[in-house]
């Protein structure tokens, strides 16, 4: 029952798309069945209710940061997810936006533009910078673009750090543009329609508002001629150019749009933080945005939001050992529930893990008491249980390091092993993983956060390249 004028293969493309089964798949299908406007309103209402539920400053701050991450993920998605270009300098556009707003609205060079004007200038300037960088990148072929942008991202921080003592020709005393390593403090708040955005809650709603507009715009773009053309050049640039699509111009357009979104996000960030500092725009944050995009599934708008929520919130919660422990053990349990079936096997694995730990703990306590002399690092609901289950040496660092190396070795070995072997070794793996967590990762939460973000990229790419919600590639007959 194909429409007139529509090729049957194209008309039935939806049917060939792989659908997820189970309750998750049904929930996703139900969500997709809602009209787009209803979905957007539902999302906005859900997020907007957060400040009513809690007045904890911490929660609101995590919320704003996550919303900003969502914005950046959406912007990066235009470039990476739709047009298929690897932009590794994306963070520089974010930083450029933040710094430009800070210059246009602070005492740094004593300019205080109105917010509307400043935001407009910043967004246009970011887009132009994107254009300037995209142009020489050898027809924007993937690898060359990647290396030029990655380098650009590094240079950006370096230049910003060093632009605090520039001597212009014709003047003797050096002038300070970016404040160097100290950044620019005292950035003006954003004032729109007479309302001054001051508290984190104000910015929470501002970011949410911008995000909602952005989602709506991107939804329309996704289903437009340009959106289809982007996806076409991602799948096959040669075929797209045969269809008379201006491939190079489309790539530049995607690149420029991504840069503009990043610039806008940077503006909000600068006003929220009341200042900009070089270390806000270093590589780890870039990897964080990538982790959100990849986990959510490049190419999907709802995937970006889900990815940003998971990555952003867990990244913030990993700061606190007690919160981090919930995330770690909860995440491991969730992964087990999803992958180990039927439930009898799962129960056996969990029981074996618990028994293994208890037996080992009793053995160690009898023959080598120092190995269990330590106390749990995190103070949370299960601390008591863990104290009796896990070997906690008084000086855990060295043992934790070796265990970390061993853990990676075991994981790599298991990727090659048969299912039977995997199930048999699983309790040991879980115990080893918990040992590393308790004895090493909890000691350095800042490093653990970085490790998590890098691991997300590697693991998602090898297990499920489409991420949580990304479109699996439709096979071409």
């Amino acid at each position: 029952m194909s429409q007139v004028g529509v090729d049957e293969w194209v008309a039935r493309a939806e049917e060939r798309r792989e659908r997820r089964g189970g309750p998750l798949g049904r929930a996703e299908a139900a969500w997709d069945a809602l009209p787009p406007v209803a979905r957007l309103v539902l999302f906005a209402a859900l997020v907007a209710s957060v400040p009513f539920i809690t007045d904890s400053d911490f929660v609101i701050r995590v919320g704003v940061n996550t919303l900003l991450l969502g914005m950046l993920a959406l912007g990066l998605n235009i470039v990476v997810g739709w047009a298929g270009l690897l932009d590794l300098g994306y963070i520089a556009f974010y930083g450029f936006g933040a710094y430009s707003y800070a210059l246009l609205a602070s005492d740094q060079i004593d300019v205080h533009l109105s917010s509307w004007l400043a935001i407009l200038i910043v967004v246009v300037a970011s887009a132009l910078l994107g254009l300037l960088l995209g142009l020489p990148s050898r027809r924007l072929i993937g690898d060359y673009l990647a290396i030029v942008t990655l380098f650009f991202g590094q240079i950006f921080v370096e230049v910003v750090v060093n632009l605090d003592r520039v001597t212009l020709p014709g003047s003797d005393s050096p002038i300070d543009i970016t404040g160097g390593p100290n950044g620019i403090p005292g950035v003006d708040p954003i004032v729109l329609l007479g309302f001054e955005f001051l508290t984190p809650t104000d910015y929470f709603y501002l970011t949410l508002g911008v995000l909602v507009v952005l989602i709506a715009a991107l939804y329309l773009v996704d289903n437009s001629r340009t959106g289809r053309a982007w996806r076409a050049i991602r799948e096959d640039p040669l075929a797209a150019s045969l269809m008379t699509m201006p491939v190079k111009r489309l790539k530049l357009l995607a690149f420029v749009c991504g840069a503009a979104v990043a610039g806008l996000a940077g503006t909000i960030f600068a006003a929220l933080q009341i200042g900009v500092f070089p270390r806000n725009f270093e590589t780890p944050f870039l990897i964080l945005i990538y982790a959100a995009v990849i986990l959510g599934g490049a190419g999907s708008i709802k995937g970006m939001l889900a990815g940003a929520a998971v990555v952003g919130i867990s990244f913030e919660l990993l700061r606190q050992p007690s919160d981090a422990s919930w995330i770690f053990y909860g995440g491991v349990l969730l992964a087990l529930v999803v992958t180990v079936r039927p439930w009898r096997v799962l129960a056996a694995v969990l029981a074996a893990t618990a028994a293994l730990g208890l037996a080992l703990h009793a053995l160690l306590a009898a023959v080598w008491p120092e190995a269990v002399a330590g106390a749990p690092r995190a103070d949370w609901a299960l601390s008591g249980a863990i104290d009796n289950w896990m070997a906690l040496p008084a000086d855990p660092k060295a043992a934790g390091n070796w265990a970390f190396v061993a853990l990676i070795g075991v994981v790599l070995w298991l990727t090659q092993a048969s299912r039977r072997t995997r199930l048999l070794v699983l309790p040991l793996l879980l115990y080893l993983g918990s040992f590393v967590w308790e004895n090493r990762l909890l000691l350095d939460p800042s490093v653990t956060r970085l490790l998590m973000v890098g691991a997300i990229l590697i693991v998602v790419m090898s297990l499920r390249p489409a991420g949580l919600f990304g479109a699996k590639r439709i096979e071409v007959m």
């Binding site: 690897l86 240079i155 590589t283 790599l412 970085l450 790419m461």
Partner: protein, 305 residues
């Protein structure tokens, strides 16, 4: 004049290191068309391996065995551990994605680079370690003739880098495995049909490239006395730039690009300012892309259909 010669020597030392690193990028890129971002981290791990061997043998001031043997063992450890790490990365991270869209292994490579960096931070801490070479090899040994003032360590670095590059050229040009590497780089499918073991060839490319990176890591540790977890990222970036400038996938090009970048960096640090070294390298990259996008020695790529 003295100053000029000094910067020339600095540039050659730095350039040798970049050239060794760039070769690794170039070999892998030539065969897999993969930009291996983790290469810089392999180099960092090689440097750490060398450092720990030095410490394990009693430290630079009072080594348990003769200094020459210490150096040999350091280079061996750096090369071997880096080589094995490179092979492991290929086997577990890149191989499953070999037929995926181009962007997938790039993202894995990015994640791998970051993961290894954080692993080093976790295992070795954030301190900058010093090999303290001057305690082991007196800085006064070397060539000191008129304006020429080259320490023994630098001579060692430049000469051994040159030897390694010659060895690599001979390997790729004369041996059967080298021939297989060239064949796979030229056309993987056709090579496979002719009975070339593609997997083995790719593993060999990663192993050799990573060995060179490990050696470069130990060299940098010896000359510049700084071993730390972030040393790989910028160096890798510059080495890749060197490979692009010379013509990616082209072995003499990688050497030329590496030396060029090293010299450019040394002279800009000496005559202009050391703060904007990276900016100058970046400018070189953009310039080459505008003027000669296939690199100095590269042949223009034909787009295959």
């Amino acid at each position: 004049m003295d100053f000029f010669v000094q910067q020339l020597v600095n540039g050659l030392t730095l350039g040798s290191v970049y050239a060794l690193l760039a070769l690794g990028y170039s070999i892998v890129y030539g065969i897999l068309k993969l930009l291996n971002f983790a290469h810089g981290e392999v180099y960092m791990m090689g440097a750490f391996a060398g450092y720990f061997v030095l410490i394990g043998l009693g430290g630079p001031a009072s080594p348990a065995v003769p200094v020459a043997l210490v150096l040999v063992l350091m280079f061996l450890a750096g090369a071997l551990s880096a080589g094995l790490l490179g092979v492991a990365i290929e086997r577990f991270a890149y191989r499953p994605l070999r037929d995926a869209p181009r962007i997938a292994p790039l993202i894995t490579a990015l994640g791998m680079s970051f993961f290894l960096q954080s692993t080093a931070l976790l295992l070795f801490g954030a301190d900058v370690r010093s090999m303290d070479t001057s305690a082991m090899i007196s800085p006064s040994t070397g060539i000191h003739v008129g304006p020429l003032d080259i320490s023994l360590v630098r001579i060692l670095v430049i000469v051994s880098a040159a030897l390694l590059m010659v060895a690599l050229m001979l390997f790729v040009g004369r041996t059967k495995l080298g021939k297989a590497m060239r064949a796979v780089a030229y056309d993987r499918e056709a090579a496979e049909m002719m009975g070339v073991d593609v997997n083995r060839t790719i593993v060999a490319a990663f192993f050799i490239g990573s060995i060179l990176a490990g050696v470069a890591g130990v060299m940098v540790g010896l000359v510049f006395d700084r071993v730390w977890h972030l040393m790989g990222f910028t160096a890798g970036l510059k080495a890749f730039t060197a490979a692009v400038i010379g013509g990616i996938g082209n072995i003499p090009g990688a050497m030329l690009g590496g030396l060029l970048i090293g010299l450019a960096e040394a002279f800009s640090a000496g005559y202009i300012s050391s703060t904007f070294q990276n900016l100058i390298v970046f400018g070189l990259l953009i310039l080459v892309m505008l003027v000669r996008p296939s690199g100095l020695l590269g042949t223009p790529a034909l787009e295959k259909v």
